[in-house]
Symmetry: C2
Amino acid sequence: MKEVTLKDIAQILGISVTTVSKALKGYKDVSPETRKSVLMLAENLNYKPNAVALNLKNQETRTIGVIVPEIVHNFFSSCLHGIIAEAEKNGYLVIILQSGESDLLEQKQLEMLVDKRVDGILIAIADATDEYSHIQRIIKKEIPIVLFDKVTEQLPCSKVTIDDKKAAYNAVKVLIDSGCKKIAHLRGPLGASNAVDRHEGYVSALEAHGIAYDPSLVYMCDGYSINDGKQHAEDAYKENPDIDGVFCITDMVAAGAIAYFNEEKISIPDQISVMGFSNSPISSIIRPSLSTVDQPGRQMGKEAVSLLIEEIVKLKKKEPVEHYHVQLPTNIVVRDSVKSNPRP
Amino acid sequence: MKEVTLKDIAQILGISVTTVSKALKGYKDVSPETRKSVLMLAENLNYKPNAVALNLKNQETRTIGVIVPEIVHNFFSSCLHGIIAEAEKNGYLVIILQSGESDLLEQKQLEMLVDKRVDGILIAIADATDEYSHIQRIIKKEIPIVLFDKVTEQLPCSKVTIDDKKAAYNAVKVLIDSGCKKIAHLRGPLGASNAVDRHEGYVSALEAHGIAYDPSLVYMCDGYSINDGKQHAEDAYKENPDIDGVFCITDMVAAGAIAYFNEEKISIPDQISVMGFSNSPISSIIRPSLSTVDQPGRQMGKEAVSLLIEEIVKLKKKEPVEHYHVQLPTNIVVRDSVKSNPRP
DNA sequence: CTGAAAGCGCTTACAG
DNA sequence: CTGAAAGCGCTTACAG
């Protein structure tokens, strides 16, 4: 069915499109009678301005694009929840794309969003991405972009993350305080900023507590699945039967580790304590329940959108934009996978 | 930074916009030299057609809108994964909105999508929605729309679901075959089509196996959270201490039931068997592991987009569109929460 | 108070 | 082979 246009209204009323437009937009220089008849007819015909025409005219789409590595992932879907809600509140709609942690897809999708003329872009960088010229290009074009969760310091733009290093430090400290002396780390890929930061936090927590950092206790997961956790927990345990703690990059990886230890009848937390990261629902469902870092996904998404929209608005007004790196606070949720009352 | 337009190219080359457009689009009636210089300059300037202008011209946006009740939910995010991937493959981008199971929000968001001029809409109907005039209006406007997962038979449009009734029948049959005689059902809201169908499947499985249907064994969950499951498992057990099986509307609800039974040292599956629905990751992580119905979310999303795009294309070509109700097959994953080898 | 004109960036039927 | 004109649906500076 054909949508009603200004032209239709103008023709019916025998006046010009200009006048109809003005009446609808509340311009003063329209006679009360004309205004009234226009408004009434528009109402009756259920006139809705054509957003596409407005977009062309206004050079904006009131749409923002988001690229996440994977939508079926509690943390990212939480971010998306926050993003969509906050964007909607500000009159923006959200287009979502998944890179699958692939740099090639990420590049292609970024271009699709630019071609689509979105007003701004939010991105959590794929693990496989190791150079940022595609993002640099967006910045050069002055398209507002905000990085979240997986970011890089190499780009001049706003970022929203938690303090991954500090969060990891605190998580490992909990393990140490509970009595662990030999803590393995199932880490994430080298290309992922948060994996790098969490590894650093792990190292510095050890060193701050008089435990020598032993690189052979660090195992690199390719992905973040339960199987990655199982696999590497097995490797870690077989190569170092005396480990008494495992710090995992992700709750899913931790769930895999727990599954392995349970199968092998290795007692958690008595023999080995396990620490996860994210506080996803599985951490309270798994047995023993998983101690983990609470990572505020929804708030991260909300914060990222706010920064982005601020930039979009400033850009429109030709005001200078500043860049921020917002770091959201985290806290640790201690559950049964770590010994309590360690120091009697 | 200003984007390059046809006008820019035309001015630099001293030719008309028309000719530039034709050269770029490979029209025959352009001299080889002109074509070449246009192509080269466009390449150098990295010219990209303005999608918004094309949208206005072509009366299409190559965008589809999706409304789901909740994105942070394994099943729906799986659907979205399928939707986004399949849409992308066909050159469509996807705008996502969450109704939060609210009819009011659903109505508002549907209107936003229409105003946005999306080419088509995918929707999983909110639990609170009990009349469909807002969707009926979309259909009258001839905007392609496909319902998925939570649908209604009252609307003349395509639908993609599983056969919830049959899936529930089979799930309850597994409980019965394992020896259960008194099976409670933690069901979903009355407004949700899948909850209604699953309840029907539950009833008919009982009756087909000579077990009288007892409405007092059915408990209505308001939501789908762990707590809903805990709460109602407790109610069910306290009011009927002799139940030996529980069929849950959702894996999360089942997880709550398991948590309650574990806390109360009620042995699963020896005293009570538990059956979930969806086969989300938690079903293999929880202990005892959860028997459940595997619900192919990603495929459902993919199927729904395919149907939708087919309609969009046919509409464009003014061909008649037909409506289908695609029902995806499911199968049951039996795990430790149900007794095996029941009939020795 | 009203409306013709120009413009957002593109396409295409048509005239030359 | 080239380009002026009309049009997608809207807005707004300007003339009357």
